[in-house]
Symmetry: C2
Subunit: 341 residues, 2 copies
């Protein structure tokens, strides 16, 4: 299909030159137009749950930079919220959740999830209607493991301690938690596709630091189940997986076993290694701090990635989200450089 | 040499069964006897800089658990302090340093470094005199990159932003900073060996998240220089390197190129991979959270590591430091299990 969006073509295995580009957290606080809207809205969660606002924020970076994909403005914690967990966003602290230590209190009736999640689908529909037909729309969800780390700890946790303790001490009930999460994640991704998402991304932001057997039980197996459940509903769903900062062996295994169509890599992965060892399309992996630095360092880092992935099915992105201190001009320079490659 | 300490034998390439065991941060707040001393001393830094106290704290876990090695109680930030950087430890925040943005103000006259570092050497002498001859004594230092991350940021930084920005924007002056640090680190390790350390460990705690070219410039090359400088003084220095949470390719390269005798691995590295791919003795890599969990999970995780490393030159350790909430009984169980293997 000649008219297919670039991002979707790459996910089908095609090498496109120049490669499509979008950035994780491309909508956000580094943009003055976002900060202006945020000042009016009051809170991050209000913006996520207001379809018009979420649509507007999703479109802001597309207007400015003409990225090849728009990612819906939302948050991974909408899934715990749909399961009945109280989620609040505290200024300068981040998300605070009512900690969960067993699955008994979770809302497992999927017909109830929509009351929380419906605004995300409405935002996708509004955005799809306003987007150029050449721009892909991306929906997303957190992976079960990463969501479990927030739910067990009650907040973000750099060592994922509460979730790991739960897994070590009671692997059976922790597996049940991952299953409930996987059901809701698969359902949420399916509804996003129905609302207009061309592609969905699964963020496993806390996949690092897991011993090999825990990585299998907490990342590989639950992701595989999400992919299977989603494909049972939409057999052609296009899925990007991002097991952030796992080992190279972890990325390799994830690419081979989970069934995702493409894999997103963090900044430490040598792209020459990826080009040689990963058997699916790759996304990544510019250092967000190189984007913040700008200048020669940004140009060099960009070129290194483009050279390593030349001739491969590749999506240009960062290795992590845009930092809020990033000058928007650096983003414009990056897009221009990738487009000129 | 039949009488050689187990740790030293392993570092010479010998497989010892059961393997020697010690734990990173084995002296510390999880031990009531440490907390009692801390309550009297008032501050962490006071204890580091008081040779009698540092000696006593170093010996506490040896008395309790009979580890095969004692690591001197000190801190990696003694090196920036020796270079004239003001370092303070704030309760519940951690170290706070006067941020450094150029090397002009640093004390590069090595004859001046001793006034700050002498208490560390005295602590080593006192400890060596009290240690059983079969117990190895370990000295240590932070690697240049990790020290630079603290100095540039003025504190610990999970994304190493200030150091990366300096490196990206002015690689020449950043390389000079790494050189000054490397001089002081090599000197500090040499003096520790003279004071009785059998082995030294270089901690590169913030080696994760570096793109491949930055890893080469900031971790591999400076570590290689430290090793060369140290070996120019003590040709038989026994060195363990710990480029924490780098990629598998990073560990492989570090083991092959820096010249260290042994490599310490974080918890995410599959030990079966290490046994197959690393050409030097290996240390690691039990999850500190498995140690905190205890019970079956601890036993299983311990056995997995022991099995993977069976017949290899191997030092049992954690993948990161002991957590302060760890019950000392779990540590005793771990030591017993390793010794019974």
């Amino acid at each position: 299909m000649k008219e297919e969006k670039k991002l979707v073509r790459v996910m089908g295995g095609e090498s496109v030159s120049p490669p499509p580009i979008w950035l994780m957290r491309q909508a956000g606080r580094y943009l003055p137009e976002y900060r202006a809207l945020r000042a009016k809205a009051g809170s991050f969660w209000t913006m996520c749950m207001n379809p018009e606002m979420a649509c507007e924020i999703t479109l802001q970076p597309i207007r400015r930079f003409g990225f090849d994909a728009a990612i819906i403005f939302s948050d991974i914690l909408v899934v715990p919220a749909a399961l009945g967990v109280k989620v609040e966003f505290e200024e300068n602290i981040g998300p605070v959740l009512e900690p969960v230590s067993d699955i008994a209190g979770l809302e497992t009736d999927r017909s109830k999830w929509g009351s929380t999640l419906a605004p995300v689908y409405e935002a996708l529909r509004l955005t799809r209607a306003k987007l150029d037909s050449s721009t892909a729309l991306i929906g997303f969800a957190g992976a079960p493991w990463t969501l479990a780390t927030y739910m067990a700890e009650g907040r973000g946790s750099s060592d994922q301690r509460a979730a790991k303790l739960w897994f070590y001490r009671d692997p059976t009930s922790f597996a049940q938690l991952l299953d409930v999460l996987g059901d809701c994640v698969a359902q949420h991704l399916a509804r996003q596709i129905e609302a207009g998402a061309d592609v969905v991304q699964i963020f496993d932001s806390w996949a690092s630091g897991l011993p090999a057997s825990a990585f299998e039980a907490c990342v590989i197996a639950p992701t595989k189940r999400v992919v299977q459940k989603l494909r049972a509903i939409h057999s052609h769903a296009k899925i990007i997986g991002f097991p952030r900062a796992t080992t190279l062996a972890g990325y390799e295994r994830y690419a081979r076993e989970t069934g995702v169509d493409a894999i997103s890599l963090d900044t430490s992965v040598p792209m020459a290694w990826a080009a040689k060892n990963l058997n699916i399309p790759v996304q990544g992996n510019l250092d967000p701090i190189a984007l913040l630095a700008g200048g020669d360092a940004l140009a060099r880092a960009t070129d290194e990635i483009l050279e390593a992935m030349c001739g491969k099915p590749f999506i240009f992105n960062l290795g992590h989200g845009v930092l809020q201190e990033t000058p928007p001009e650096h983003v414009a320079e990056l897009v221009a450089r990738v487009r000129a490659s």
